[in-house]
Symmetry: C2
Subunit: 413 residues, 2 copies
């Protein structure tokens, strides 16, 4: 009865994903680029700072003039004036001279360090006592010390956090080239599915996947657009697919991806010209009847109809797809997972990769690992997924995981 061509491994699907090209760039105002990914490297156009600044309130000095200064044997320097804030100082320090300076002020010519105010005695007269020595560049930020002109500061593919935006702002950058957001079309299917705003009649259920899959796309910085609920008919699905294809980088179908009599996803996809079916069936639970197809740089996904299963498959495959399209590397596992102690044994079938929903519980002793407790309930349910903090993998070469073993728990964001 199963018409699956051949179950492919999860890794082979991830390998298919890596063959898609990152999306082209788009130019955005800096403040809109938070959480986006740089499309081109950024090189410092000038030195940062462009002049040597004090990082403290105090006295600008030549370091050699305060060599060996102490509370009991202070250095005695001639007061040469005060450095202005926000302007170029005209002062030039001669040997034996010092100038009052404030945090952020430009060092006068001749000075190479600052002695903090706390280590000074000055009555406003012609001489200043400094009670602490300074090495060259103490309490200053030298020209180019933050970033040197010509240095590549941020590579292409860099994820933009507040600090990356701040670095760009420091150079007066107002717009930045980032990867365009992936456009992801979402299509639900099933004769029994009604839109969320329709009261279901007996035998009908509300669409959940339109909501969850769109939200997952948006949480991964993609743009989601819902194309509707297709009845179980190849023609209607094909019509929606063709509409979605005019806009989308990726199309997520849910429901109808299996190989039964009422499963039209494969039929509809196969009817599209130049469509290449890359996979029908994956050795994964949940999500065995998954379809992946490709047409140029567009990808097409047949996901399970059960809401919980569809969302787990989206975590496993659509998040990496969104990262790939944004030109981001896959995170190393310790960046989005935590090591935890498995709280209960898990049974699995060999040859299949299982994703098990777990709740994370605090460690029993403060230095210990949290425990990962599998959430009970059938896999397709949506409520059980709201109880889960993370997913634990039971790999293909194991028939289960023993309680008390250490696992990686991948956070559900």
């Amino acid at each position: 009865m199963t018409n699956f061509l051949k179950l492919q491994s999860v890794d082979s699907i991830l390998e298919h994903i890596r063959k898609f090209s990152p999306l082209p760039g788009e130019r955005l105002p800096l403040e809109d680029a938070l959480g986006r990914v740089l499309a081109a490297p950024f090189t410092a156009p000038e030195n940062l700072p462009s002049f040597t600044r004090s990082s403290m309130d105090g006295f600008a000095v030549m370091a050699r003039d305060v060599f060996g200064a102490s509370e009991s044997a202070p250095a005695l320097l001639d007061y040469a004036g005060e450095c202005p804030m926000g302007g170029k100082t005209e002062l030039v320090l001669a040997p034996g001279q010092t100038a009052r300076i404030w945090t952020g002020g430009m060092l006068p010519e001749g000075a190479d360090a600052v002695v903090m105010l706390e280590y000074s005695r000055w009555d406003g007269g012609a001489q200043v006592e400094l009670t602490k020595p300074a090495a060259p560049f103490d309490n200053v930020i030298a020209t180019g010390e933050d970033a040197e002109k010509g240095a590549e500061l941020l590579g292409a593919g860099r994820f933009l956090r507040p600090q990356e935006l701040g670095l760009l702002a420091a150079f007066g950058v107002r717009t930045v080239e980032v990867r365009r957001m992936a456009r992801v079309a979402v299509i639900s299917s099933g004769d029994e599915i009604v839109p969320g705003d329709v009261a279901p009649a007996p035998g009908q259920v509300r669409d959940i996947n339109a909501c969850t899959l769109s939200a997952l796309v948006r949480s991964g910085k993609g743009t989601a657009r819902f194309y509707g609920i297709a009845k179980d008919s190849g023609a209607e699905l094909l019509r929606m697919l063709e509409e979605a294809m005019t806009w989308a980088d990726a199309v997520l179908l849910s429901g109808g991806s299996s190989a039964g009599q009422r499963d039209y996803a494969l039929e509809a996809l196969s009817a599209v010209s130049c469509m290449e079916i890359l996979a029908h069936g994956v050795a994964i639970s949940p999500g065995k009847p998954l379809i992946l197809a490709r047409r140029g740089e567009q990808s097409f996904w047949g996901l399970p109809g059960h809401a919980g299963s569809a969302l787990v498959c989206a975590e496993v495959f659509i998040r990496p797809l969104l990262r790939r399209l944004a030109g981001q590397d896959e995170p190393e596992p310790w960046r989005n997972a935590v090591r935890a102690v498995l709280g209960r044994p898990i049974a699995s079938a060999q040859g299949r990769r299982d994703y098990i929903k777990v709740r994370l519980r605090p460690p029993e002793d403060p230095g210990g690992l949290p425990s990962a407790v599998p959430v009970t309930g059938k896999s397709g349910l949506i409520a059980t997924l709201t109880e889960a903090d993370a997913l634990v993998i039971c790999p293909e070469d194991q028939e289960g995981l023993a309680a008390g073993g250490i696992v990686l728990a991948y956070f559900l964001q």
Copy 2:
């Protein structure tokens, strides 16, 4: 010279934060509530699903009629018809009868389980052979099995991920009451600071904090509004503060928070009626000259002027403030930190909590911990912060951390 009243501990500032009340709720369309926090608990208004559904393509049966069935001794049942999809089935199974059913279809009265298509033989005639037994509720999702009417499914304070939105969508929820986003005003200060779109003259630098602090607020699901750059004058700062106060839940000043002659933040804050200065000076590095003030439910923060220091202080204090205002609990450390091996020793002063910027490097062996390598460079710089993946804490009761020790590295998002 230092007029610090008294250095407070980081924990005492975090304690002040916990005394602010969560913000009131606002009602949003479900699709706009991603990443927000529920303001009221959600109770299931009906059973989910509202009828017993098949979770497979197959034959609906009374479990007792297929007891002991096998390939060699199949159960022979009378074919009673096909259950319609998306409608109420009129079929009622009598003992010894079975009905064709599809995934998602409503079980007929009398049936309590489904035998998968793979374990059936049927030539379209009056009888069906089933070659596998089923226990009651096998391959079905029973009425209320996903969620039972009246059960509290999501508590107040719950962070809304795709699955929580999906659960709400399953009940036809279209709008949801979430905590209002915190309104955070950002004010920069300093005679030497110019806006990002102005070419700095000698002695001037571009404002970085307006960009980084606003971005951090937005990444924590707050609304940021920039009020401008105050010159070093108490009167100008006070005017901006008073304007910001008419809108903001929290005001972030950067620069001028120290106790020097040109530091006007405390003076301006003290001039506001009913303002309570909760702290001036915190035993933290970077960020010692921090100010926290409170007026009713509004908080006011004097942050360092140096961009790198201001952003670290915002990570340490403003992220928890945003979570508090959203009614969220503080995450347990293993949720936003990774255990890592310190790559180099760190020196610190006793009595002070140091936040050290680190880069994370993959573990040498696959099962090992990543290593946390301190980023070199002066603490106020912005470029060094772009090189950092995380912050490591050197606690108050230690004078440093030894290389090779295990630390928690808190991710910089």
